[in-house]
Amino acid sequence: MAQFLSELSVFGFRVCPWPWLAYVLAGVVHIALIINLVAVGALIFIWLERKISARIQDRLGPTRVGGKFGWLQTLADGLKLLTKEDLMPNGADGLLFKLAPYISFCAAISAFIAIPFAGGSYPWIAQHLNAGVFFVLAVLGLEVFGVILAGYSSASKWSLFGAMREAAQVVSYEVPLGMCVVVPVMIAGSMDMVVIGDMQAGWFTNWLVFHDPFTFVTFWVFITCATASVNRAPFDLAEAESELVAGFHTEYSGLRWSFFFMAEYGSMFSVSILASILFLGGWHGPVPVASLLGLGGESSGSIGWFLAQLLGLGNVLLKGTLGVCIMMWIRWTLPRLRIDQVMTTCLKYCTPIAAVMFLGATCWHYNFPSKNFFGLTSYPQSVYQIKEGWDATKKQPLAAEAKADKVAQVQRGKRAISRHGERPIFLSSGERL
């Protein structure tokens, strides 16, 4: 991106006369795209939440603002929030009280840094991390700091109670969430989200949720834990309005309060996209439209490639939105759990189920390494060619040396691995030597 900008010229004028400006502009473009995705996403999701909750409760919801369907309702809400007075309680810790909403919001948008929106050799991703899944999980866990600091600094019992509940909940749900994420990582043999998404290319039978019965169950456990980790009902103990007024954001008003909401919708969107990439094929639709139409190809910059990537982007956003809608559906259908029920769900159900599913998926993958769709079909040959790129920059070893290495591997009974950045995807099969 930076290189592209530094060489770009419009009407004979170079856009970036100095190379360092190109780096700054490239960074600004990525940041602006991500912030807009979260902010505009929140705008749409809040409207959607109003409409969905209204339909579930047999009402109409907003109908007037912006003409039809009240589609500008959120903007009107935002203007109202802007004009509200920015209040702070007397005994509050001023610095932390003011910073807390921004911390939540920053954590929510940081997760999008490592989330790919289209794959292939030139993926659409702000920062292609080698341990992408792990980074997203780690950053999603940071959102809790904003909530804890808000609860503490508000100098209010309700807020503190909400923050304590949130802390307990997030710490315990990280365990089963991590175990669920490990299953697709193990099957793909990589923590790189681009690789995990690309190995599910083709028809929906290649999706990891249908890989075997264990991944199918894991997906539902993941959905439960993800809902809990972003504090959505029925796990929204931190802001239980029937007991705690509004929980951790009781004392907040105006724009600061709305930052908490943007953070909440942002992290809902990011866990939904994470679920879609890990289990539901990511940027590959249920039907491989792009490859059926002959789009795509490896060369970056051609029109066909761009259209295919755009289609992938649409797939990711659509799946993410569907996930958010399902969370809304759950929220307006199920009653809120008690704190002990939340803990029971985590420790007595989610964690053991996730552990057993992990064990089961490991055994299944060991016995049927090249099968997918519940063991009925085989993976296409293209899956074996996906490269992670961790070794691509290295010099290739001499042929004789490589051969000697390979012989040594066979003698030592090691499993197959290619040395040139090719991903050792099905290690247990041994058929790729």
Partner: protein
Amino acid sequence: MDAIYWPSVFFLLFGGTACTFAVAVLVSKNIVRMAFYLILSLAATAGLFFLAGADFVGAMQLMIYVGGTLVLLVFGVMLTSQERFVEMKSDAGDWVIGFLAGGALLATLIWAAVSIPAWQGMSRAEAEALTVEKTATPLGMSLVGFRVDNPKESGYLFPFEIVSVHLLVVLVGAAYLARAKRKITKVALASEPSSAGTDQN
């Protein structure tokens, strides 16, 4: 050749942030603010790891230090934030001992950083010629017993297994310790057939 060498800029940014907030932890008197500054300092350290291309270690730093430990720290701080613990005051003797211990460590580290030849910086031309290697997969492979960089060597499967089993035992033990220690008599069983719900907190 670029006018600004961005890796240096970001190194100074992250390093400066980490040091500034580490000092702020010392200077601050409110215990929750200390925890908050510690979070920022550790997060800046994670930024340094990412800058060095160590994605996995950086994410580890975020997950374990920033995420896990500090959630627990803040949690504990809030439980103990009684009136007399909110403002922490340290007397002059503490400051002297602290400066002596911290200063000695700092001097040793600076001396080591300057004197060890392998730790000397390289010129900018050398640095720009380097390629970033992705390290997460080779790390993972070596933990399951296969060294990518040197296939003749053995990996670290055994220590990895010990740590995994240890962590599993910790998880089960934590769940066991946190269970409700409630005596269930026959009368209680008869009157309350579904005694679900254990008070965790």
